[in-house]
């Protein structure tokens, strides 16, 4: 009788020991390895048709799809400077927003609470609430994106959006032409801003003023 119960127990013990040996998948992941960089674009956009850009002077903090506040912390400044530098390296000229820029550039920090996720589709649906088209001098216009992704943001993320202001008047819409999203550990950091923005641009070689 002892043998009858002992043998299956031995098999179960073997299995339990084996399952306990599972390698923890993220043990080897460094802080940098946790970061993911997602870019997307309007495939019909001709990026060399844009020559100038203007960038927002603050960063919108979005919590659960709602604008929480616009801030300009040292970290926000670092991200704005990094994006501006990358665009100028790609041949675009920085102008004031009153000087009819071809591209509008906005930066957003996205957070969630413990009970909600921020859907990137909703993020674009609510874009009007973060950056009123009035900001760009086009009151009453609506935003439009043809390529919204399917990402959900379950913690912090930095989103950078390029919108087409050059053609806004002709279409009565402000069309999104490029988006970059950064997620992972320690992404919202003054010291990391430049490298993270550079990574987004590195995987977007088409983003340049001159062919």
């Amino acid at each position: 009788m002892t043998k009858q119960t002992g043998m299956p127990l031995a098999v179960i013990a073997l299995l339990a020991a084996a399952v306990g040996c599972t390698k923890q998948p993220l043990n080897n992941l460094s802080i940098d390895d946790t970061k993911i960089y997602i870019t997307n674009r309007d495939s019909t956009a001709n990026f060399s048709s844009f020559k100038t850009f203007s960038i927002t002077d603050s960063v919108a903090v979005i919590k659960n799809n709602q604008l929480n506040v616009k801030t300009i912390t040292p970290t926000d400044s670092a991200f704005i400077a990094a994006v501006s530098a990358q665009l100028q390296q790609r041949g675009y000229t920085l102008v004031q927003k009153g000087q009819s820029p071809d591209l509008g550039v906005s930066l957003n920090r996205i957070y969630n609470s413990s009970t909600a996720v921020v859907d990137y589709g909703d993020y674009w649906g609510d874009y009007y609430g973060y950056w009123d088209p009035y900001y760009w001098g086009y009151p009453g216009y609506s935003y439009y994106s043809s390529y919204v992704g399917v990402y959900t943001v379950t913690d912090g993320a930095v989103a950078i959006d390029l919108v087409d202001l050059k053609d806004a008047a002709a279409t009565s819409k402000i069309k999104s032409v490029w988006s970059g999203l950064i997620r992972g550990e320690g992404i919202i950091s003054q010291s990391n801003a430049s490298a993270e923005v550079q990574a987004l641009f590195a995987q977007s070689p088409y983003l340049k003023a001159n062919n």
């Binding site: 009858q4 098999v11 599972t22 998948p25 992941l29 997307n40 997620r183 992972g184 995987q203």
Partner: protein, 202 residues
């Protein structure tokens, strides 16, 4: 489930008085094959174990139940992947897969009698508990599934005394056929190389 299979095997074994019941335990690293190797994990699962509880009906045939465990893992360095929506995603990708098959198993020895060296062929057929996780950076997605599994096997039992009542060692190789359809993956087929012991119970 494990207990059920094991108990069935034990009860079946003890219902007959002529044969011998043997427990076999193997270290069994798994080598990914085919599209599983090229698309998901190309590293050998050194965390691999298998075991069976077989009732040796006579000098050639045995029937029973088998199970096992493989932990497949691979981390790919950062590169840019194309997302389903056309996006470009730069990430370190980690795939983690565990399989636990539960099989009914039959075994035939090519050599009869009480020879101590018994080459054999075996076939296990049953189900497979699968845990699949893919981490994009630290963000995971995946699927837990129960699928089909079949495991043809070739090997040799080497007994320390008269077969089958003596303990011995096993050397073998099993082709683990494991269909699994998810996110472009078709299967988790692998080759398990087995080395272990078998212990008679009566």
């Amino acid at each position: 489930m494990y207990a059920l299979v094991a108990c069935l095997a034990v009860n079946s074994a003890y219902a007959q008085q002529d044969g011998v019941l043997k427990l076999r335990l193997d270290y069994a690293p798994g080598i990914p094959l085919g599209s599983f190797k090229t698309d998901v994990v190309n590293q050998t699962a050194w965390r691999g174990y298998s075991g069976d509880l077989m009732y040796y009906i006579n000098d050639r045939w045995a029937v029973g139940g088998a199970t096992g465990f493989h932990d497949f893992y691979q981390q790919y360095p950062r590169q840019v992947y194309k997302g389903a929506d056309g996006s470009d995603v730069s990430a370190v990708l980690t795939n983690s897969i565990q399989t636990v098959p539960i099989l009914a198993k039959g075994q035939f020895s090519f050599v009869g009698g009480t020879h101590t060296v018994k080459p054999y062929v075996a076939l296990g057929v049953g189900g497979n508990f699968i845990t699949y996780r893919q981490f994009v950076g630290e963000y995971d997605s995946g699927k837990d599934a129960f699928g089909f599994a079949a495991s043809p096997e070739l090997g040799v039992n080497i007994a320390f005394g008269p077969w089958p009542s003596s303990a011995g060692i096993n050397i073998g190789a099993a082709y683990n056929y494991m269909p699994f359809n998810y996110a472009g993956i078709n299967n988790l087929n692998n080759l398990a190389v087995k080395l272990g012991v078998n212990i008679p119970f009566r």
